[in-house]
């Protein structure tokens, strides 16, 4: 199936969970990433039980500090 990850079209096998996608995409600090699918938040407690479906648009949102010092 084809999905969009951070705006890029990618091919993954059916049945992929959000948790597996986070691993495959080598997401930095995976335990603190926020995920949206089709502009809706996915609860971090549901990463393992949520399947990504064909055509889904997945975004990873990262903590970013920086600024003053």
């Amino acid at each position: 199936m084809f999905i969009k990850v951070a705006g890029e079209k990618k091919e993954y096998p059916e049945g992929l969970t959000v948790k597996e996608l986070i691993e495959k995409e080598d997401v930095e600090t995976p335990q603190y990433v926020t995920v949206t699918i089709n502009d809706e938040f996915v609860e971090s407690g549901a990463f393992e039980s949520t399947e990504v479906k064909a055509g889904d648009e997945v975004e990873f949102l990262y903590f970013m500090g920086g600024g003053a010092r």
Binding site: A6, G7, T29, Q31, Y32, T34, T36, D39, E40, F41, E59, L61, Y62, F63, M64, G65, G66, G67, A68, R69
Partner: protein
Amino acid sequence: MAFTNEQLERYSRHIILKEVGAKGQKKLLNSSVLIIGAGGLGAPAAMYLAAAGVGTIGIADADEVDLSNLQRQVIHTTADLGKAKVKSAKETMQAINPDVKVNTYRKFITSENIMDIIRDYDFIIDGTDNFPAKFLINDACVMAQKPFSHAGIIRFKGQLMTYVPGEGPCYRCVFKDPPPKDAVPTCKQAGVIGAMGGVIGSLQAMEAVKYIIGKGDLLTGRLLTYDALTMTFRTIKLPKNHDCPVCGDHPTITKLIDYEQAECDMHM
């Protein structure tokens, strides 16, 4: 209040813009913006807002200018080493534009003082570098119904979003709680390219100006991300989180929280 000849000349490139005009420039001169953190993000934001003629600018930071700041914090110069950042920032802003009144707050923001500091300002810019401060600013702005620009920068990346009361999500809608100490690298640990503060801090100034003149679309409900290595800007849609503990339908956070911060990034 009528413009002086000097003001007409100084702001001529603004006044000629149909979105600004004399009316917008007057709004800027009558407005007030608070910048929290006189560092990588706060430096360009403060300089552009001073140049733009924002009538009152507040700047809060407890630190002194350090040699390692000068690679990116362009409001300070080598001659300012050891000086309070707020003093150095004020001098630069007033040198750029003597029209501007600058209020300095040489302190860390805490749950005790933030409400008093933000009260008198129309728009707040979060230019801090640590998560406890970012969550504190978010919660205080939500509670006080103040619009603010959130931003973060690290390595070759930066991002920002704008919160406007009643319109769109707050920072906590996206990120529920601060990460534990040292779980997410800071600029000090991971580095940051100097011009990143210039890009993202200038975009924060742009949001403040647009909010004040009431033109264009703000980054409400959107996160703008910038990757300098791939030279890519993206906007990611941010839904409002109705379960948000601070701005959601049934808030559970009703008091400000001082989160713990690692010793090395105690300062703003």
